[in-house]
């Protein structure tokens, strides 16, 4: 069953252009100039119920605008969409009962009240029966481990605690489809991990479709089964995560803190290892896991450097996207 389809979905904003300086401001007062800014350009999507989709792109690519059109917040300039069987901007109220939204930068929790009070309000917003609300609340509190801060005003919660409450609140009415816009922004590694686990669990238990934007490769790798990359408002890539992992996410970044300065000038090149930065006390290199293992890559440096500390990271998402753009451009040249 289809959870979501779009056809030629586009959104153009009119943006005022002001010439530089005070004289520009005065001119703009009498003769304002407007320019069309294409935020989303003819996007076609088809997502099945229960899928977990990462919707990626650099800043300004149109991710948030697309989510806002799919949730009925924005009206499109042209195109069609059907979400959970409804046209979002026409049947916004009916659709809202079926979907949940988490905007990392727009909280639905009341800032001065404890989360439990917002849960109560949300239960009224979604017209849950008292018995259903009580059972649902108990389940989410237990699974999201909200007990310790359920009665603390939101303003006094840490960002991680707040996000956990935020996501639990969005699951309260059992949405068929959950839209998450940067849900792990600003969170530490442990909290990110926990939030991913909780979303994955809901996806498995309730077959909730997850549509997520993120700048974190970890969210994509651990949570999603499919990746859609958009650029300049259009779809650039739409593939299973496994394939993207094989082609792109196979690279890891290794950061070494060195105990003493190292001289790598005479060191032979190792296939699959690409040195990114080499400074006194610091060495950063990327490892292509398709060609060489982490341990093997580290072995190449043993004896040449003294390691004080070591971290292995996913490459930043921007780098992954850059790589995808590169591959796409190469394919276009080839074809």
């Amino acid at each position: 069953m289809r959870a979501l389809t779009t056809h030629g979905l586009s959104k153009t904003f009119k943006v005022k252009r002001k010439p530089e300086g005070l004289s520009g401001s005065v001119r703009a007062l009498f003769k304002p100039e407007w320019k069309d800014k294409i935020a989303v350009h003819s996007i076609d999507l088809a997502i099945e119920q229960g899928e977990t989709v990462a919707f990626l792109g650099p800043n300004g690519a149109g991710k948030s605008t697309t989510i806002k059109m799919l949730t009925g917040i924005l009206h499109p300039t042209s195109g069609e969409a059907e979400v959970a069987g409804f046209v979002p901007w026409r049947d916004r109220t009916k659709l809202a009962f079926r979907i949940g939204t988490v905007f990392g930068q727009k909280s639905q929790l009341w800032y001065h009240l404890p989360p439990i009070d917002t849960f109560e309000l949300i239960s009224r917003v979604y017209e849950l029966t008292r018995a259903d609300y009580a059972a649902r609340q108990r389940d989410l509190i237990e699974r999201f481990e909200l007990g310790p801060y359920l009665h603390t005003p939101v303003r006094k919660l840490s960002l991680g605690e707040r996000m956990r409450c935020e996501i639990a609140a969005s699951f309260l009415h059992r949405p068929q489809l959950l839209f998450l816009d940067e849900p792990t922004i600003g969170l530490d590694v442990v909290v990110k991990q926990r939030i991913r686990e909780l979303i994955r669990e809901r996806n498995r238990r309730e077959e909730t479709t997850v549509f997520l934007t993120s700048h974190d490769a970890g969210d994509v790798e651990e949570l999603c089964s499919r990746v859609i990359v958009i650029h300049h408002g259009g779809v650039l890539l739409d593939e299973p995560v496994e394939r993207v992992k094989r082609d792109v996410l196979s690279r890891k970044t290794v950061r070494l803190t060195l105990a003493e300065e190292a001289d790598l000038s005479g060191m032979p090149e190792t296939a699959g290892v690409d040195i990114r930065e080499s400074e006194p006390g610091r060495l950063v290199f990327s490892v292509d896991l398709k060609r060489i293992g982490i341990e093997e890559a580290l072995n190449a440096f043993l004896g040449k450097v003294r390691i004080a500390d070591l971290t292995v990271e996913d490459p930043p998402l921007e780098e992954i996207i850059k790589h995808i753009y590169g591959s796409q451009a190469r394919e276009e040249v080839r074809s």
Binding site: K68, F103, Q105, K106, Q108, R124, V125, Y126, P153
Partner: protein
């Protein structure tokens, strides 16, 4: 029928939950709550003192006596008070629209305008509402008829405040940041509702019953409370409901043009 009854029941339960949350949120800062409400009450009482001094020198001005001006203040403050306590966002629509704060309301299954309006409680307005009833207790007509007429006056006043401010706030959908103009309209409207309408003549009086329709509040003590003037009452009710209808229509049309935004927002 039962579906419609369920829908209306759902909206009432939702409104009650909103008001409870607003009140609980205001009580998070108890001292601030009582100070703000108390200061507004005091502020209004100072004006009562001023008008008392004035009417002790000039007992009748254009047919208005001290009692009429007191009732005017009671209606203006009380009407503004209940509207701002229960639907405290009506004066902030321009800001909410232009700063992209409608997203959360639009993603939830309740009427957007009602949800926006009921999501804030003005604490100072609780003092205004109390002031209105104190003045009624002092100079009002303590019969059932007097009580009902006063309640009707409060209702019309509050709805007129809301209708006008929703219409002005909706300008933000078309012209972006219109907080300035909304603030100016609000200030001139509230000021003009506290002066007897009969002291204005000519163009000023025309403006008072058209562009800034404060006259439909400031004539209530004469046209509704002292004796019912049917022509005035029909006009006042029509303008009030006309403004409310215009506000709801403009808001619904404006939502098609809503552009959202990327500001970080929290619900207070």
């Amino acid at each position: 029928m039962s579906t419609e009854a369920n829908r209306v029941g759902g909206i009432w339960r939702f409104l009650l939950a909103c008001w409870k949350a607003n009140f609980a949120s205001a009580l998070e800062y108890r001292l601030s709550f009582f100070l703000l409400a108390g200061m507004m009450l005091l502020n209004n009482l100072i004006w009562v003192f001023f008008w008392q001094l004035f009417f002790s020198r000039f007992p009748v001005v254009q047919g208005w006596e001290l009692r009429d001006v007191m009732i005017l203040w009671a209606l203006s403050a009380g009407g503004f008070g209940w509207a701002s306590v229960l639907f405290g966002n009506y004066g902030r629509i321009a800001n909410i629209v232009s700063s992209g704060q409608l997203d959360v309301y639009l993603s939830q299954p309740k009427p957007v305008l009602l949800h926006v309006l009921a999501s804030r409680m003005s604490v100072t307005a609780a003092g205004d509402f109390l002031f209105g009833w104190l003045i009624f207790a002092w100079v009002g007509d303590h019969t059932i008829r007097g009580f009902l007429l006063f309640v009707a006056g409060l209702l019309l006043t509050g709805l007129l405040f809301m209708g006008l401010m929703i219409v002005v706030g909706c300008i933000a959908f078309w012209y972006g940041n219109s907080e300035g103009i909304a603030g100016q309209v609000f200030n001139s409207f509230i000021t003009l509702t506290t002066y007897p309408s009969d002291i204005f003549r000519g163009v000023a009086r025309t403006l008072l019953f058209t562009v800034v329709p404060a006259g439909f509040i400031s004539y209530l003590p004469i046209g509704l409370i002292r004796s019912i003037d049917p022509a005035f009452l029909i006009a006042a009710v029509s303008v009030t409901f006309g403004l409310m209808a215009a506000g709801c229509t403009l808001f619904a049309l404006g939502l098609r043009r809503y552009a959202s935004g990327n500001a970080i927002t929290v619900r207070q």
